[in-house]
């Protein structure tokens, strides 16, 4: 069975429709899998690409990856659950990654996170109801000289104070 057939059968079994936009994403994922010569060893790299394309690791996408790499789905799930970068639930359009490294901590990162929680009315680890922001505490981002820092996408916001949180959020709304 070709990979596209495999994909379609997987998706129909899970009760999803493959729309044209979806198909492009799967094609792009297929390119990444091909780049790594379908080696099971490249699983983490392929999951990164899948998450980039689909926003999060959807069950059908995970099953597709497992099938194409000829890995048991349990093993793929084992890897996904081990690494904090992978998410199996939808995330906001923007993930606010608040650094919880030592330098940020001693310079008041906790208060900054609390300010985000208050401003967005969500707790860390949650997503706003409008699907715009997710708030996540992460490991050291390596910008300790500018502590406390947060990252949204590839933007780094540095030397944040609780009263500067509103301004950061406004840039993305």
């Amino acid at each position: 069975m070709s990979s596209i057939q495999a994909l379609e059968s997987t998706i129909s079994r899970l009760g999803h429709q493959v729309g044209p936009g979806e198909k492009i994403k799967f094609d792009q994922l297929e390119i990444a899998i091909g780049y790594y010569n379908r080696q099971p060893e490249a699983l983490i790299q392929i999951l990164h690409r899948a998450q980039e394309l689909f926003g999060y690791l959807r069950p059908d996408v995970v099953e597709y990856v497992a099938q194409t790499l000829k890995l048991p789905a349990s093993q793929v799930h084992g890897v996904i659950s081990f690494y904090s970068f992978f998410s199996t639930v939808p995330r906001g359009k923007y993930t606010i990654m608040a650094c919880m490294g030592t330098a940020c901590y001693v310079r008041g990162a906790e208060q900054v996170v609390q300010a985000f929680e208050k401003e967005l009315s969500i707790q860390r680890g949650q997503t706003t109801p409008d699907g715009l922001f997710s708030l996540k505490c992460v490991r050291c981002l390596g910008a300790c000289g500018m502590a406390p820092v947060i990252m949204i996408g590839e933007d780094v916001h540095s030397k944040l104070r609780p009263d500067g949180v509103k301004k950061v959020i406004r840039q993305y709304t």
Partner: protein
């Protein structure tokens, strides 16, 4: 490309770079015909607005018709993160700090056109001091010795020819054309370099073991999973000078007979990943990686593997599992990776900073390197200076430099006139060093003696406002989170230590708890499977050793001397400052604040107070005092 062609290219490229390397006073030599603006594009400078500064300068140069005589270069990290965005003007050698887009007009019109440097943008040790235009005279830079960061902040990391201009890949050319693999190892051995990732294992011994291992399938791995909170030198090297690491990996492969390499880099460093990809592509195109490197029989290829957010993957056996797409769980050693690593084949794993020291060692000789630093810890170490210190950033100094020199001379001391309390080195595997050890030389062995480690080189300074019990709890919380769960001492022990520390911070600790902590730490240290578990008690043990009085203040006196642990604080309303606005009472979650009868003043009922600190936070008149 052959070694001779590389040499010719080096000469050509160096010429193109000569303007950037000149440093001369303009006044005595007249206006230079050409100038170059070096603009730092390190992570920190990007985060405080390097891109708009670049655009503004570019626009201003074009507007003044100077774009042919004033060149602009985006460089890697210049290491003084606190001064960003940074611009250095050469050949004048003048440094501008905290440059904003609106400063572009002044820099161009005043300095570039009229030859009058902008004094307002120069560095000053304190607001009333005279400006110091020359970066080489600023204490933060002048006391550093750069080997790892030699070209970081001078060259464009996305242009291989600039690295070649600075004698890049010359060590590789020397090795493949004039040295045997054993000679390369001998040179590294003579340098005495020990691994910069944390454990301080001699690099030459590792390479020798891989060299001696039988078979032809061998691997070299660069550990760029820089996970220690507070360390960011690997990131700066990868972002600012990626070719240095690639060259060193090729040297390692040549010396050991490996044919394939992996760089395992954190997903949190997208810019480093991108610059590595560019560098790899360029090195392949120039024949410096791939088949028959520099016309020799030696072939070597490198692939990037991106991590996915697991601290334990910095441990070498876990890292190898992750490189092969599995859960990053460590396994017992032996077998050591040099016997059985990737695909069960011999593998050598070295850290980014270790690799970044290698090209200079091969080029200039191991003996030269061994002359720097101390007898048993040779060379330089890059420390990531952060936390409560005036100048933050990367500091490369000879091993054996004292903590006092780094924090007070290079780092400019503690801001706000506060008192130094402790320096945390080595992240969650390291310890806290108190003021009495400020004059201790920083090297592998002396730090170990006082219960800390050099580790990856994170150096977080803490002032009197940091509670050491809370700091110990912070690191233990980190280890609880990052424990992979495979071995019980780490999985269960970290949690128990955390709970005990939490109890003490909540004011519910007893004197027995200190003995329990000592015991638990001992078990973890001696019986955990991997380095993460074995070293996880270090922050707790070192604070117990050096700051026992703070633990006792929490337990016996029910006080947090640094006023951090909320449960041990008493909130009191200062009646003289209270205006009776009632904001605190309305925000109190337990209705513990009420109006004093007949007065427009409020008071806190200490029995109802849950120490949440809300009243202190909301009061606009600073009337809520903490005791």
């Amino acid at each position: 490309m052959t070694p001779t062609e590389l040499e010719q290219l080096q000469k050509r490229a160096a010429e193109a770079l000569s303007l950037r390397l000149q440093k001369r006073q303009v006044k005595s030599n007249g206006k230079p015909a050409e100038r170059v603006l070096l603009i730092c594009a390190g992570g920190a400078c990007i985060s405080c607005g390097e891109a708009p500064v670049w655009e503004a300068l570019e626009k201003e140069l074009v507007r003044n018709n100077l774009h042919d005589t004033v060149h602009m270069v985006q460089t890697g990290c210049m290491s003084a993160c606190d001064m960003g965005p940074l611009v250095i003007v050469r050949p004048d050698n003048i440094l501008y700090q905290h440059v904003k887009p609106e400063d572009a007009a002044r820099i161009v019109q005043q300095h570039m056109l009229r030859d009058e440097p902008v004094t307002e943008l120069m560095y000053r040790p304190h607001p009333e001091a005279d400006p110091i235009p020359n970066p080489d005279e600023i204490p933060f830079f002048s006391k550093q010795v750069k080997i790892v960061l030699e070209t970081c902040g001078i060259i464009d990391p996305e242009n291989i020819e600039e690295y070649i201009a600075m004698e890049g890949y010359a060590a590789l050319a020397k090795a493949v054309s004039a040295m045997t693999p054993q000679q390369v190892i001998d040179e590294v051995k003579a340098s005495g370099i020990r691994g910069r990732g944390g454990a301080g294992f001699p690099t030459a011994i590792k390479w020798q073991m891989l060299h001696n291992a039988p078979g032809s399938e061998k691997y070299i791995i660069c550990n760029a999973d820089e996970g220690d909170p507070g360390a960011f030198m690997d990131r700066s090297v990868l972002e600012g000078d990626p070719h240095r690491v690639l060259e060193a990996m090729a040297l390692a492969a040549y010396a050991t007979g490996a044919s394939k390499g992996f760089i395992y880099v954190r997903a949190e460093y997208p810019l480093a990943i991108r610059r590595l990809q560019i560098a790899l592509e360029q090195a392949r195109r120039y024949g410096l990686l791939g088949r028959r490197i520099l016309g020799s029989d030696f072939s070597f290829g490198i692939e990037i593997r991106v991590g996915a957010g697991a601290f334990v993957c910095g441990e070498e056996t876990a890292l190898m599992a992750s490189v092969q797409g599995r859960r990053g769980m460590p396994r017992p050693r032996p077998p050591f990776p040099t016997d059985s690593g990737i695909h069960d084949k011999p593998t050598s794993i070295n850290n980014v900073e270790t690799f970044a020291s290698i090209p200079a060692i091969v080029r200039r000789g191991g003996k030269w390197y061994a002359g720097i630093g101390t007898e048993k810890s040779t060379g330089t170490k890059v420390f990531a200076l952060a936390g409560n210190v005036n100048a933050t950033g990367l500091v490369e100094v000879p091993m054996g430099t004292t903590l006092r020199e780094i924090i007070f001379e290079i780092g400019g001391g503690i801001p706000g006139g506060k008192k130094f309390k402790a320096a945390q080195t080595g992240g969650p595997s390291g310890g806290c060093i108190p003021a009495e050890h400020l004059d201790l030389p920083l090297d592998f062995d002396s730090l170990q003696q006082i219960g800390s480690i050099v580790g990856s080189g994170g150096l977080v300074v803490m002032d009197e406002d940091s509670c050491m019990v809370d700091v110990a709890k912070f690191f233990m919380d980190f280890c609880v989170d990052e424990s992979c769960g495979k071995c019980p001492p780490c999985r269960v022990g970290t949690k128990q230590i955390y709970k005990t520390l939490q109890k003490i911070c909540d004011g519910k600790g007893s004197e027995d708890d200190l003995a329990i902590l000592d015991d638990l730490c001992d078990v973890l240290r001696s019986s955990s499977l991997c380095g993460l578990g074995q070293t996880s008690p270090n922050p707790t043990m070192s604070t117990l050793r050096h700051f026992r009085d703070e633990y006792e203040a929490h337990i016996k006196g029910h006080k947090c001397p640094a006023k951090v642990c909320k449960q041990l604080l008493t909130y009191i309303i200062n009646l003289e400052k209270c205006t009776g606005c009632s904001l605190c009472a309305r925000n109190c979650p337990t209705d513990a604040i009420s109006r004093i009868d007949g007065q427009r003043k409020y008071v806190i009922d200490q029995d109802k107070c849950i120490h949440c600190g809300k009243c202190h936070e909301v009061c606009r008149f600073a009337a809520v005092a903490i005791e």
